[in-house]
């Protein structure tokens, strides 16, 4: 079996992986290889033919394939090698990490590189995980699968559909199915507030007269061969169906849009510590995981709302990998030392990481903790000294999600330092909602006074933040 030596392997050719590969090349990493399981680059964007991508990064409204092309088009000239139609089966950590790749053209090959970026994206929550009672007929699909059938395969999954969950893909598919002549009876959301972006509620449901039923869920799927209908019921504050509110809905298709889960089988196999809240790797300011030289970006780390943020993360990871390789080349990391793979740590104790591979001054992790009304913050820890030494145009990028919606919210990053608490960054958001990420930058110079811990708080004036 062949083994190829590279400097950086990027697993996944979606928006995160492509941005990472380009950033690494721009930062001077010589041999960069992207492994992609589909027969073309772009990942899930290829099936997202609606527009609205790139608002933030390009100030344009691009379709998914157009957005992907902005990055994929630069791959050949940037000198990035691509291995398509190939699946990474295993990542074996070591002083030189090994990635086992299987593809029809490539055969079974091993790529060996000191740095690997995990950019596999995420998967959808399924009917089984929601434990929806009933038969198990044909006609129950996740929203992303329906999107692939309709937009890539040219197949119409049914005639009359209900959508369970108001996640963004479900909302987009409500519109898409309507345009394809599938009657969308309604969207049912178990929570009292919508799961997707406000703009999608307006543009995909309101504009097409598709009702959104909040605090309502499917309590039974009728079969047994093809979906014959569903029973829906309203739910109480504890999300339990309220007896007597059941209603039968005639349909032949159930589309499930109930959330995404970071895809981390490879990360887990590599011994990377995972955060139980994000279900992605614990990462630092350069998106390095707890295993030195293994980086992660995009929906592998946490599920993003906007692809622009995914690309930004890819760039951070690509630059981070370049920085790591440069440190290594300068002898500041011990290549080949025993235990260089690092020791997986328990998430939530980021301060306690031992990194035998690193021989420069003992690395002290500055933990980043969610404070008031914050569900999680990524990165979960930073090397404050390292980050403080970077140029001012490379701030530490934080992403967080709130627990509860609110209006005119103060987002504050507070640092603990020997001299007392310091505000590292502050911004005011007109509205915050759990489905929408909040991005906050912390300038390197603000970290200079020796910050040892960081806390993120979101204090809202109140209201439901549903700025429709």
């Amino acid at each position: 079996m062949k083994t190829h030596e590279r400097d950086l392997i990027v697993i996944g050719g979606g928006p995160a992986g492509l941005a990472a590969a380009l950033a690494a090349r721009e930062a001077g990493v010589p041999r960069v290889t992207v492994v992609e399981r589909d027969h073309e680059l772009g990942g899930i964007l290829q099936q997202c033919i609606h527009d609205g991508f790139g608002n933030f990064l390009f100030r344009e409204r691009l379709t998914g394939p157009e957005y992907a092309a902005r990055f994929a088009g630069r791959i050949p000239e940037a000198g990035v090698e691509t291995v398509l139609d190939a699946m990474a089966l295993e990542v074996r950590p070591g002083p030189e990490h090994e990635v086992l790749v299987s593809g029809a053209e490539s055969g079974l090959v091993t790529f060996r590189a000191p740095a690997v970026i995990l950019a596999m994206g995420c998967r959808e929550r399924t009917r089984a995980q929601l434990l929806i009672p009933g038969h198990r007929p044909a006609g129950v699909f996740t929203a992303g699968t329906v999107q692939r059938y309709v937009n890539i395969e040219g197949l119409r999954p049914g005639r009359r559909a209900v959508i369970l969950g108001s996640g963004d893909i479900g909302l987009i598919m409500a519109r898409r199915l309507t345009l394809e002549g599938v009657e969308v009876e309604g969207v049912y959301e178990i929570m009292p507030h919508p799961g997707g972006l406000t703009r999608n509620i307006v543009q995909c449901l309101d504009d097409y007269g598709i009702p959104l039923h909040l605090s309502t869920t499917i309590t039974f799927i009728h079969g047994p061969k093809r979906v014959q209908g569903v029973t829906v019921a309203r739910v109480d504050a504890d999300r339990r169906p309220i007896p007597g509110t059941e209603r039968h809905v005639d349909c032949d298709t159930v589309v499930i849009s109930a959330g995404l889960i970071p895809e981390n089988e490879l990360s887990r196999g590599a011994g990377v510590a995972l955060d139980p809240v994000t279900r992605g790797p614990v990462v630092d300011d350069r998106l390095e995981t707890t295993v030195p030289g293994l980086f992660a970006c995009g929906n592998v780390v946490h599920v993003h709302d906007l692809v622009d943020y995914v690309s930004m993360g890819g760039t951070i990871a690509g630059r981070g990998a370049a920085e790591y390789l440069a440190e290594r080349a300068a002898g500041r990391t011990a290549a080949g030392g025993a235990g260089a793979a690092g020791e997986p740590v328990v998430a939530g104790e980021p301060g306690a990481v031992a990194e035998p591979g690193v021989v420069d001054a003992k690395r002290e992790w500055c933990p980043v903790e969610p404070g008031e009304n914050v569900a999680y913050v990524v990165p979960q820890r930073i090397d404050a000294r390292r980050a403080a030494g970077r140029p001012q145009d490379r701030p530490v990028q934080f992403f967080l999600r709130v627990r509860e919606p609110g209006r005119s919210a103060d987002v504050t990053m507070t640092g603990r330092s020997p001299g007392g608490d310091v505000v590292l960054a502050h911004r005011r958001e007109r509205a915050v909602r759990p489905p929408e990420m909040v991005a906050v930058k912390v300038r390197p110079d603000s970290l200079a006074p020796g910050v040892t811990a960081i806390r993120a708080d979101v204090r809202a004036k109140g209201g439901d933040g549903d700025g429709r």
Binding site: A104, G107, A128, G154, P157, K225
Partner: protein, 584 residues
Amino acid sequence: MATDPSRAADEALRLEVQADLDASPELSRYRLRAAVDDGVVTVVGEVETWDEVVAAGYLAAERRGVREVVNAIRAARVPPPVLEAAWPAPGPPLPGWVAQADVVVIGAGVIGAAIARELSRYRLTVVVLERSSDVACGASKANNGMVHPGIDPEPGSLKAILNVRGNALFEGVCRELDVPFTRDGFYGLTLTPEDAAILPLLKARGDVNGVPGVEVLDREELLRRVPGATPRATGAFFCPTAGMTSPYKLTLAYAENAVANGVRLFLETAVVGLDVEGGRVTGVRTNRGPIAARWVISAAGIYADRVSAMTGHQEFTIHPRRGALVIFDHQESGPAGASVGWFGLGMPKHSKGGGAMFTVDGNMEWGPDAEEVPDREDTAVTTEAVGQVVDKFSGLLPEFPRNAVIAAFAGLRAATYKEDFHIAPSRRAGGLIHVAGIQSPGLASAPAVAEMVLDLLRAEGILLIERDGWQPRRTEPPHVAGLPQGALAELVERDPAYGRIVCRCETVSEAEVRAAIRGLVPATTVDAVKRRTRAGMGRCQGGFCGPRVAAILAEELGRPTTAITKEGPGSWLFAGRTREGGLT
């Protein structure tokens, strides 16, 4: 047909059963009537609920001398079954069709397939008819895979005899047919001192049944051996011979081996009638035309009583008993080991209560429960059933991560009211052998059931001459998952399609999917591919591989993708193509 002395016995039995019905506090008000013919009790009348229908059936079965019960009672408050199979539409005879056979086997579940494989040793024309699009589509795909040790059945019952014998045969069968089988044993936990006190009696029953190596354990020994067991346990029994297999893989392997040895298997072919002349069966009528046959073996599972009724004289009733199973992510399941269940005097009368066991693929699996349902196709999973299963087994294994559920499904047990296997020649039509009432421990008993059916055929006068070149072995096609790297590299070298992974959760390659479709018992549906390859069984439940598997099926079968189904007619996946100009 019955002689005078037996008519007198029938009348005596009728009086007893009628008296029982009239004396029942629950049922007497309905004035149900019993009739007895040749030891078979038929009960008629109308009650309110399905549970009362079932209760009457059991009551009628209680008296000594009752061979079987035909339950013709209607329930006023139960609407007629709406889900029950519309039989496959009439169609043309399939390729390889024969108008005449020595033996026709009805049903390709694990029992029908095991019998067919046994028959394939001999110079006979054997035909297996299956109404579904694949083998193992009834109880054989929806049971927990446990190969029971045989400690539960009443001593002397067919269940006891065939279970213990079948269990002993399992290793050899699975080795010959290349089917996964593990033998890690079963712990039955007691939760009260009273239940612990009767464990020695249970062991005695095991000894009588011939179950090897049964042990009675005290609490400390149990907790030492099963560290995750509840500290509330008061004791346990241990059966070292309990095992696990893949029920649908075993069925498929039996069927493939039978086909390799000349048996003809016709799928989507339903028996709609029997031809009986002069008290002897002469053939079957199907939706694809008639087949003349000298012997007919009914292994029709949940519909076995319907086949019996086709003789004009129904000999028993099957009542579906549903069981729900819950499957957990194998990454959360921990290292595989022995199965665990509950044992106690408060156990339901007609169920062993299921277990917490590891599938041969390493997933923890809990269940099944037991619930009587009126509709023979009602495999719905209910919130109550899943809740009961999860509560029960998290009571036995309190530390197990109960939230890591990846799937829940239900199957129907084909129970008779006598609750024993009914394996016997029909008393109404010569040449017809009923293999009915096969529920748990039917899987464990399957190899022994096949032996017994051959013995019955011999007794009926069939001439069995061994076929030259009978091939007992069948080989499982290669699977990428779990293959050592060197072997995988070789495989991909030989056929690059083994390198193209279509199911990322379970690491299934395109070549495996194609092999399943080209197999001796070809997969023609998405679910049939899933059972053979595991594509779609993982965490994403087919979200990623579904479109790819459908496309490969379409290509291999030469059909449009829109004609591909989940599990045969009626389970359509696509309503058609999108509008013109769609991306393809």
